[in-house]
Symmetry: C2
Subunit: 296 residues, 2 copies
């Protein structure tokens, strides 16, 4: 972005919340772009900002991935984030690095191919993680747009980025499923309040900045409400980077585990953070494209 062009998606350094129109397409290649998704699926994604595909991975594949998560959760390092009120591991980051089973699943064209089709570009990993919501202790994630953070804190210029989530356990009404406000991706909600340095150290446990105001959330949910992504192991949800989403706590006696990859169009490489701060560490946000070349 030239220094003279105004930022179309200002946030944090604003005096009051604003609802701003999206400047970028949702389907960057249109509804007839080639790939695994049918035209009606692409149109549903354009309208709703999200899509659930059943049985993308087999039960056996999903079980093997879940086993790998439990193995990794036992290895402590800075890429593991614990629950705010308990020692249990909440998230594991930088899953796409290396060539383990989880990274291979994220390069698999059954997932990465959906991103290439919608973004109409080669795709690179901006971030990846496992959200492992432990039994009883797994706490909620507040409402937010991922793109808001990726723009302000990581320097992604445009809404040409999306997430794919592979369910590794059942996602039920009892264990804190992904909740979305369908259609909210067509509006950018400017959030009030500047985050302190090293915000990521607390925000990954419990987000306080980059959280939309309640009036904006209520307005966007008016009419279309809130939907829950309920499904089982091997199901895949894709959602636009700007879709407002949240998830509740896990009150059930069983953990809930999902694998996330964030696919960014290679033409949308990160620049300087729009919020002016220092970039987040590489394990949370890749500073340069990490191509997600698909399996054949």
């Amino acid at each position: 972005m030239p220094a003279s062009a105004p930022d179309p998606y200002p946030s944090r350094r604003v005096a009051a919340p604003q609802l701003l129109p999206r400047q970028d397409p949702v389907l960057h290649g249109g509804p007839d772009a080639p790939g695994p998704l049918a035209r009606d699926e692409l149109l549903a994604f354009e309208r709703d900002g999200w899509l659930l595909r059943r049985g993308v991975f087999s039960a056996a594949e999903a079980a093997a991935l879940a086993d790998e998560v439990e193995r990794l959760a036992g290895i402590a390092d800075e890429t593991r984030i614990s629950e705010p009120d308990a020692p249990a591991v909440r998230s594991l980051f930088a899953i796409h690095r290396g060539d383990g089973p989880l990274a291979r699943a994220q390069r698999d064209r059954r997932v990465a191919g959906l991103a290439r089709q919608i973004l109409a570009d080669e795709v690179a990993f901006h971030q990846s993680r496992v959200n492992r919501k432990p039994a009883f202790d797994g706490r909620e994630f507040s409402w937010h747009s991922d793109f808001e953070t990726w723009h302000v804190e990581d320097g992604l210029p445009a809404m040409r980025v999306l997430s794919a989530m592979v369910m590794l356990t059942p996602n039920t009404a009892a264990n804190g499923p992904l909740l979305v406000i369908p259609g909210s991706h067509i509006v950018f909600v400017s959030c009030v309040g500047e985050a302190p340095p090293d915000h990521h150290r607390t925000s990954l446990r419990r987000q306080q900045y980059g959280v939309p105001d309640r009036a904006s959330l209520t307005a966007l949910a008016s009419g279309r409400g809130v939907e829950a992504a309920l499904g089982g192991p091997g199901d895949v949800v894709i959602f636009d980077g700007n879709l407002l989403h949240a998830s509740g706590g896990n009150l059930s006696p069983l953990p809930r585990c999902n694998l996330f990859a964030v696919y960014n169009a290679v033409g949308n490489a990160p620049g300087r953070p729009y919020g002016g701060g220092s970039p987040r560490p590489a394990h949370v946000a890749e500073p340069a494209p990490q191509p997600a070349a698909g399996s054949p």
Copy 2:
């Protein structure tokens, strides 16, 4: 209960959690008791400890009841309980008193008749309330058996008591629906830890005593899992007084509102609290039967 008979359902004053067998029937009149429920519904209730009936009240009836709740929520007195972290009204108690629309709905035989059929007796109100889970601020209810509290703190002798819940708004995966562990009603979970006097002043906001241990919850959910009571205005859920249940927070921008009545068999009138403390106030637990005579 004669002073010499041991309490079959000891709790709080125990050294360790115990899973004790239920001593009372679930269907006190058996599966052929006369009433609105069919034999297969009664057998499902016996097996699961809960049942959902769709469309018991019409949409117009449910809307009128919801309006009455909002009117009452604006009147501050000791029967109104606020959220633990916000001023919003969380619960309203003693709804069955008087002759307003909510009390009439709780005496209606479409609801009270279900209790009479299962408990095989005339029924009296032990308690009633509205749980009005406000948008954004509505917090979770921990896992518990109502009967455990009603026995220890209110002196109900036997498991011959049940709850009916009338949904006044949609109950979705996003707004903190009732969660149950099906089949858990056949076991009494002794809970460790004695509550201080006036426990009800805090327990109605956030329960800390009479909460089953995690190992017991995990064991009881093993195999049958956790189910959510999802439905819409006018749907009715009945559940056994000893069924383990909970509910999540309401993350949605819309309130979630349910009307509860606790129907006790008149032959199961409260005595001295089994925990030895003073009885709770009458607006939380009626000290003497308040007959719930049905409409014709």
